[in-house]
Amino acid sequence: MKMQEAKNHITDIRAVDAATQQVWQYLEEVTDPEVPVLTVVDLGIIRGVITDGKSAEVTITPTYTGCPAMDMISTNIRMVLASHGYAPVTIKTILSPAWTTEWMTEAGKEKLKAYGIAPPNPKQSVCTPEYFHREEAVQCPHCNSFHTHMISEFGSTACKSLYRCDDCQEPFDYFKCH
């Protein structure tokens, strides 16, 4: 599926009946355990909701293959929906189409920045094969300077790289394009 089709698909599956919209609303209560300002909806990992108002089936897709937060996210979705009276709650995982940072909502990107993590650059600049190539400048979430440099491609979690700002000197995480 092409990116735009995938995005339209998300819009389509959300623009449905009230019962389904209600579940989407409850899913906003589930946050990423590693980046607690982001909800699973902000992250763009919810790929579908099927509900009759009593039971619910939620389809999710992992951000990174080995992301250890995914199991916890599944459990938290289950718990939140159960607390609102849904039973049974089924979680399905799909791998394709593969998640990309393009699916993160604009609201999510703003929350990330306010939290001190540079949001992924809008242009999809997934790893080029060239050595020592660096992607376009990443903006410091603290002072908005573009004078920053990468310290490490791999940061505190699989989804982040480590940067430092050359103006305010603060180190910061960058939610890297994926």
Partner: protein, 289 residues
């Protein structure tokens, strides 16, 4: 044959798991904090890949138990009641049932050897997954598509280190050259088809036929499901030679290659690795934390 696809899925999973485990041995011991985190992240990616692949293998096993049950004979595995899962495949098979390449089981050695092992393998894995994501088997294709994005990072990170060390100091260059001398002989088998690969592989020139229908992967014709390993060799050699050139490292001459991994004949190192990795599940079956 159903058994060919099962063995192939295990082979892919074993490669990812064993290299992931090797890399995880660096956690807390990396040359500096950033690189410790980098190699640990790569370990995590690989173990994640392994999990997806073992889950798929377990699904095949549970659906076609009559055809597949004879393929795993380890007593611990055969004691599992009911459907098996990915953990049973990772922790309860014996060393002579693992099908990973000899390259990935080699001990970490120094940083140069670890880097080179990652580089040689990631270049291969990139080429393999680029082809496999077009497979008529939709689950293999999905796993390849998902993993590929991460593998590209692995190739670049390890390739940059090969260049940094090769074109670095006298000491770092010597160590890279030693790593090449020690690991090169394990690269040959990456490109020699095992019997299960032969059965599944497409002809090198023909693109994989896309005849798969969702939900019925087993009914699909199995020819053309995976790339023939020989067909990846030339591109791999070009990439490696190009990187070695930038690193001012000597490309090894054609020489004798050791093989056997895909047919479960391993170097002595794998048994020790599994003893450590599997110990807890063998001593306390089903334990969780």
């Amino acid at each position: 044959m159903i058994s060919d696809k099962f063995l192939y899925t295990l082979f892919l999973a074993d490669n990812a798991l064993i290299l992931g485990h090797r890399n995880s041995e660096w956690t807390g011991h990396g040359p500096n904090l950033e690189q410790d985190i980098a190699i640990s992240n790569i370990a995590l990616d690989l173990v994640g890949q392994a999990r997806n692949l073992y889950q798929y293998a377990a699904e095949q096993y549970n659906n076609y138990r009559d055809e597949l049950s004879g393929l795993i004979t380890s007593p611990a595995f055969n004691q599992v009641q009911g459907p098996i899962d990915e953990d049973d495949l990772a922790y309860l098979r014996d060393v002579n049932e693992f099908r990973n390449n000899l390259l990935v089981e080699q001990p970490n050695g120094d940083w140069a050897k670890t880097i080179l092992r990652q580089f040689l393998f990631s270049c291969y894995q990139q080429l393999l997954y680029e082809r496999m994501k077009q497979s008529a088997d939709l689950q293999l294709a999905a796993i390849a598509e998902k993993s590929l994005k991460e593998v590209l990072y692995h190739v670049r990170w390890s390739g940059e280190w090969v260049i940094r060390l090769g074109d670095g100091t006298e000491e770092s260059k010597r160590r890279m050259q030693e790593a090449i001398a020690s690991l090169w002989k394990f690269t040959g088998e990456l490109f020699i088809a095992a019997s299960f690969e032969k059965a599944l592989a497409s002809a090198p020139t023909a693109p994989a036929a896309s005849t798969g229908a969702p939900g019925s992967p087993m009914e699909t014709s199995l020819a053309g499901l995976v790339p023939a390993p020989e067909s990846l060799k030339e591109t791999w050699l070009e990439k490696v030679a190009g990187t070695f050139r930038l690193a001012t490292l000597d490309m090894p001459a054609n020489s004798w290659m050791q093989q056997g991994g895909k047919d479960c004949i391993h170097t002595e190192h794998l048994g020790f690795l599994l003893a450590e990795m599997q110990y807890l599940q063998r001593a306390y079956p089903g334990s969780e934390w």
